[in-house]
C-alpha cells in the first residue's frame, strides 16, 4: 500500500531489504529539503528568526517521537545517530558507571552486533560477564528460559524486541515484569520492531530503548535513545563539548545542561531529527496497527508460495514479523542475491550482523527478505517466479 508516496518505487525496482533500511516517502524528502532551503541555521541560537524556527522544529520532532513511543517525558527522548550509538551510550554511559566485576549481562545468540559488541567491550573493561539466554527449538526466547538464566549476579537483560534474521518477537513486557522484581534492568533494541508496530515504553516498562530513523522511512544518521528519566539523569555523556555544557572554568568546574541536551553534544543532526519527526507523522497517518496487520498478511502470502519451492530451505517458516530467511540448496546466498539483482530485486545475503547466530542455527549465511507496507503480493510473485527454477538461478548467478 501507499506505493505512490515513494519516488524510489516509481523506478522498476522491487525492494525487499527493509530490515537494512527503508525507502523514503516524498513528504520526508520535502521536509528535509525545506530545512536546507528555508531555515538552514544551527540549533540553540535563538537570536534570529530562522534559528528560532530550527529550535521549534527540532523540539517538535522530539515531541512527535515521545508521543509515538508513549514516553512520559520529552526529556526521556535523546537524538542519537542510530540504534548502534544509542546502545553504546546505554552500555558505556549508564552501565559502565556502576557495574562491577562478575556482574552478569544476559543477551542471546541471535542479537545484532550492536547489541553484542558494546557488552563484549564492557566485559573486557570491567570484568563483567556476558551470558546467553538459551533459545528454544524455533530460536525463540521464552520467559521460562529467561527465568532459568538469571543468577544473583544478573544486572541487565538486553534484547532485540524483534530479531533481524529470525524475526521472532520477544515477550518484553513479561520479561520486564519479572526482571524488575529481581532488580534487573531491561534494555530493548527496537531497531526491527519500532518501525513495524505500536511501541509503548510505559506499558512495556522497559528501562532503555534504542531504535533508528532510517528503518522507518526516516533519514539515515538519526536515531533515538529512550531511557527512564531517573536513569538518564545518571547517564554519563559519552561526548562532551558544545551545546551540552552550561559553564566551565577548569577541569573540576564543568557544569552540564539538563536532559536531554546534556546527552546531545555538538551540532545535532537537525535535518535528520526533523525528517524523522515527519516520517513518524507519515507512519501514524497510515496507522501502526494497519502496518503490522498488512505485513503479517503479506508474509503469510509469501510463505505460502515459498514453501512450495523444493530447493528452498526456509530458516523461519514461523515468525512474528516480515522477515523471511532462507537458502537455495547448494547455492551460496550471495550468488542468489546477485542473480535476483539482475531482475532489480533487492534482497540481502549474509549473516546480517548476527554473527554468533550460526552457533544456534548451524547456518552461516542466508538470504533475507524483509518486508514493509509498500511491498505487494506482486513483488512476492516476481520473487517466487525467479526462485522457482533452480537451473535458472545457477545459470544467472555469474
Amino acid at each position: 500500500m501507499n506505493i505512490e508516496d515513494f519516488p524510489m518505487l516509481k523506478e522498476d525496482l522491487i525492494y525487499l531489504d527493509n530490515g537494512a533500511t527503508t525507502l523514503k516517502p516524498q513528504c520526508v524528502i520535502d521536509k528535509i529539503t525545506e530545512y536546507y532551503t528555508k531555515y538552514s541555521a544551527n540549533a540553540h541560537r535563538g537570536d534570529y528568526d530562522i534559528s528560532f524556527k530550527v529550535d521549534q522544529e527540532y523540539e517538535k520532532a522530539r515531541e512527535i517521537v515521545r508521543n509515538f513511543i508513549h514516553a512520559k517525558y520529552k526529556e526521556e527522548v535523546v537524538f542519537t545517530s542510530g540504534t548502534t550509538e544509542s546502545l553504546n551510550m546505554i552500555a558505556n554511559g549508564f552501565f559502565g558507571k556502576f557495574l562491577e566485576p562478575n556482574d552478569e549481562i544476559l543477551i542471546t545468540q541471535s542479537e545484532h552486533a550492536s547489541n553484542v559488541l558494546p557488552w563484549f567491550r564492557l566485559s573486557m573493561k570491567l570484568g563483567v560477564v556476558v551470558k546467553y539466554i538459551p533459545l528454544d527449538e524455533h530460536h525463540y526466547v521464552t520467559l521460562e528460559n529467561v527465568k532459568k538464566s538469571i543468577t544473583p549476579n544478573t544486572k541487565v537483560i538486553s534484547l532485540a524486541s524483534i530479531t533481524n534474521v529470525i524475526g521472532d518477537e520477544r515477550p518484553i513486557k513479561e520479561i520486564c515484569e519479572f526482571a524488575h522484581k529481581n532488580n534487573i534492568f531491561v534494555v530493548m533494541d527496537g531497531a526491527q520492531s519500532v518501525p513495524h508496530r505500536k511501541t509503548d515504553v510505559q506499558d512495556l516498562d522497559v528501562d532503555f530503548l534504542a531504535f533508528s530513523g532510517h528503518k522507518m522511512c526516516g533519514p539515515t544518521g538519526i536515531g533515538i535513545l529512550y531511557g527512564k528519566k531517573e536513569l538518564l539523569e545518571e547517564m554519563e555523556p559519552q561526548n562532551v563539548g558544545g551545546g551540552m555544557n552550561e559553564s566551565f572554568d577548569s577541569p573540576n568546574e564543568v557544569y552540564l545542561k539538563d536532559l536531554p541536551t546534556r546527552l546531545e553534544a555538538g551540532t545535532p543532526n537537525i535535518a535528520g531529527a526533523i525528517g524523522l519527526g515527519e516520517a513518524i507523522k507519515y507512519l501514524e497517518s497510515i496507522g501502526m496497527d494497519k502496518i503490522e496487520d498488512y505485513e503479517k498478511k503479506l508474509r503469510a502470502y509469501a510463505i505460502s508460495k515459498l514453501i512450495c519451492i523444493p530447493h528452498l530451505d526456509i530458516l523461519n517458516i514461523e515468525s512474528d514479523s516480515g522477515i523471511i530467511s532462507f537458502n537455495v540448496t547448494d547455492v551460496f546466498s550471495q550468488d542468489v542475491a546477485y542473480y535476483l539483482n539482475k531482475y532489480k530485486i533487492c534482497v540481502r545475503a549474509g549473516n546480517h550482523c548476527a554473527k554468533i547466530l550460526k552457533k544456534e542455527t548451524g547456518v552461516q549465511n542466508s538470504l533475507r527478505v524483509s518486508l514493509y507496507f509498500y511491498n505487494t503480493e506482486s513483488d512476492i510473485d516476481n520473487l517466487v517466479e525467479l526462485l522457482n527454477n533452480k537451473e535458472k538461478i545457477v545459470e544467472g548467478m555469474l
Binding site: F332, S333, Q334, D335, Y338, N341, A349, G350, N351, Q364, N365, M397, L398
Partner: protein, 138 residues
Amino acid sequence: MESREVIMNHYTSSPYKKSKNLDKSYQKVTTQSDSCIDHLDIFVKIEEDKIVDACFEGEACAIATSSCSILLDNCINKDLNEVKDFIKNFENMIYEYPYNEEELHETAVFKEIVKQGNRKSCAYLPYKGLKKILDKKL
C-alpha cells in the same frame, strides 16, 4: 573452454580447497570483503622465496572462490617476485589500467568482471589476501 565453465569448475571442484590439517610451515591470511559476505582463509607455504604449496577455505561466492582457486593455481612453484608481478597485472586488469594480456593466463576469465562493479571486489579478494603475505616477505 568457455569462461563460465572455467569459473564453475574452479568454484565447484577446486583442487586447492583445504583438505587436511596443515603444519606450522604454512602461513595463514584471512581476507574479507568490506561490501559483501565473502570470507576466505588462504594458507601458503614458502620455501626459499618460492611458494611451494597453497590452499584455501572459507565461505564466498562463485566469483571469489573460483578467483582464489585460479590465483593459487598460478602461484604454486613460483618465485615471490613473479607472484607479485602476477598480482599487479591482475590488479591492473581489474581496475582498468594497462596490463599484459598474455600474462593473465587463466585469470583472463574475469575480464568481463570489470564491467560489473559489485563483483570486482569479489574477484580481487584473494589477491588482496595474498598480497598481505607478500608485503611481509618482500
